[in-house]
């Protein structure tokens, strides 16, 4: 039996209203499931090093040097491992390797303002403090120092002192933290080094948004990962 025009109209109204109600339920629910990964997190800065007797001065190499020398040596530069507590408790704690690099020799691109410190104590040029994350860029195992740089125990990935891949399955250099002097941080104390936002880099130290391990940023496979950072 064919539907009359009145029945067709009412069917359309009911289906349309039902669709609107369905949208009203689905949009908040699906948004709650998918939105948190996409929310941009404004830099939560973590204090890395504070020189209590040098409150008003920017940290220079002399103040950083004793702090750096007492932990690890990565390559030929002194470095220190700092533990950043994760939100997942002790098991998710991440280490941050702080090392000091010569600006002109190692970096061809400009670095963040606040990252550069005037040279002292035998360093010929301005030096850069960098924070290297210890998440391996193959599948996420924690790397530790080894072989003149970093080495990953899981599948044998090797990195040099700057975190660039020199061997094994990783696809890109180790992620970096923004290392800033306190006076460049909102609410930060001068004379204190802060670790800021974690971001990914490629081999020329171009900055990308945080990308999962295993996703290449350059090279012929990079175009099939369009939605990175």
């Amino acid at each position: 039996m064919a539907l009359s025009s009145r029945e067709k109209f009412l069917t359309g109204v009911v289906v349309g209203a039902g669709g609107l109600i369905g949208l009203g339920i689905a949009v908040p629910v699906v948004g709650a499931a998918f939105a948190p990964p996409f929310k941009k997190r404004e830099g939560d800065f973590v204090k890395v090093f504070h020189a209590p007797d040098k409150q008003d001065q920017a940290p220079d190499f002399a103040t950083l040097k004793p702090f750096l020398m007492n932990e690890v040596v990565i390559g030929d530069a002194p470095a220190a491992a700092v533990e950043l507590p994760g939100q997942s408790g002790e098991v998710g704690a991440r280490a941050l390797y702080v090392s000091v690099r010569n600006l002109n020799a190692d970096y061809k691109k400009p670095v963040l303002k606040g990252n550069t410190f005037p040279s002292k104590d035998g360093m010929p040029d301005n030096f850069v403090v960098e924070g290297i994350s210890n998440t391996c860029m193959h599948l996420g195992c924690p790397v530790s120092g080894g072989g003149g740089g970093f080495a990953c125990p899981c599948h044998g990935g090797n990195y040099d002192g700057l975190g660039r891949r020199v061997g094994g399955p990783p696809v890109r250099p180790l992620d970096r933290y923004d290392m800033l002097d306190g006076k460049w941080v909102a609410g930060g104390e001068p004379g204190t080094l802060y670790a800021g936002q974690l971001h990914s880099v490629d081999n020329d130290f171009n900055r990308y948004g945080l990308t999962p391990p295993g996703v290449p940023l350059t090279g012929f496979l990079a175009p099939i990962y369009p939605a990175k950072g």
Binding site: P37, F38, G86, Q87, S88, V91, L139, G140, I224
Partner: protein, 258 residues
């Protein structure tokens, strides 16, 4: 011999008063009669249990029912475990140590732990049986697809449940597993971010708990129901080692059934 269609017949020996609209039986003395009068449950359970089975099936044809039994077992033990498990990174491992201390919950946890592996094995063997007896062909193609969905959901249950212990092995297995998924082209990083719940693993445990307890079991119940409905509607396929009537399609079918 006619197969019984109901469990029993409550109308046997019944006297119908004249003018009665439906079957009138006064007060039955036993509870089964009482429920049968009001629900007609016998006419539902009968066709489920007294289905015609083709001649020549062997013990491998029981694997499907085994998978259903293991699923029910996992559901029940999972519900019991959920009463004692604390799904937060700070309390998860200690709550499991508490579960291990009590003899009853420890046994329940062991059943759930080994039942997970048994479920995967039984489902894989069931899939092999369906494949090697050609039981995926017409008219059972959709049932095969639904079975594949159930397989994927079961693997998802294993993956999400594995993290809930929150020890080193579970945590790093999940880190690596999610990052492997993140290397898939185009959608990989999005799926990895959805599973991880953000750029770090702080909210992964709560997410996996919700997926393991609610999302995937809901999907599993839905698809197992569809799987069962299709199975009962179409029937069990004749095994290939038994000579049965060949199934014809199209014009040949019209000619054969004319």
């Amino acid at each position: 011999m006619a197969l019984p269609t109901k469990l029993f017949d409550p109308t046997k020996g019944r006297v119908q008063p004249p003018g009665a609209i439906g079957p009138i039986d006064g007060n039955p003395l036993n509870p089964v009669d009482w429920i049968e009068e009001r629900t007609g449950a016998g006419s539902i359970v009968g066709p489920l249990l007294f289905r015609p089975i083709p001649r020549g099936v062997n013990w491998f044809y029981t694997l499907g029912a085994t998978a259903l039994t293991v699923f029910i077992l996992q559901s029940i033990t999972g519900v019991i475990l959920a009463m004692y498990y604390v799904p937060s990174p700070q309390g998860a491992y200690e709550s499991i140590q508490g579960i291990n201390d009590d003899p009853f919950t420890s046994l329940t946890r062991a059943m759930h732990h080994w039942g997970a592996s048994v479920m995967i094995i039984v489902i894989a063997l069931h899939m092999c049986r369906v494949y090697f007896t050609n039981s995926y062909k017409y008219p059972r193609e959709l049932n095969w697809v639904v079975g594949m969905v159930i397989l994927l959901l079961t693997l998802g249950m294993g993956f999400t449940g594995y993290l809930l212990i929150w020890d080193q092995k579970a945590y790093w297995a999940t880190v690596v597993g999610i990052n492997i998924g993140g290397t898939a082209p185009i959608v990989g990083p999005l799926v990895a971010d959805f599973l991880r719940g953000g750029p770090d693993f702080g909210s992964t445990l709560a997410r996996f708990y919700a997926i393991h307890m609610l999302l995937i079991p809901g999907g599993l119940i839905t698809f197992i129901t569809i799987h069962f409905y299709l199975l009962i509607r179409i029937g069990i396929a004749v095994p290939p080692w038994v000579r049965g009537k060949p199934v014809a399609t199209g014009k040949a079918r019209k000619k054969a059934t004319a």
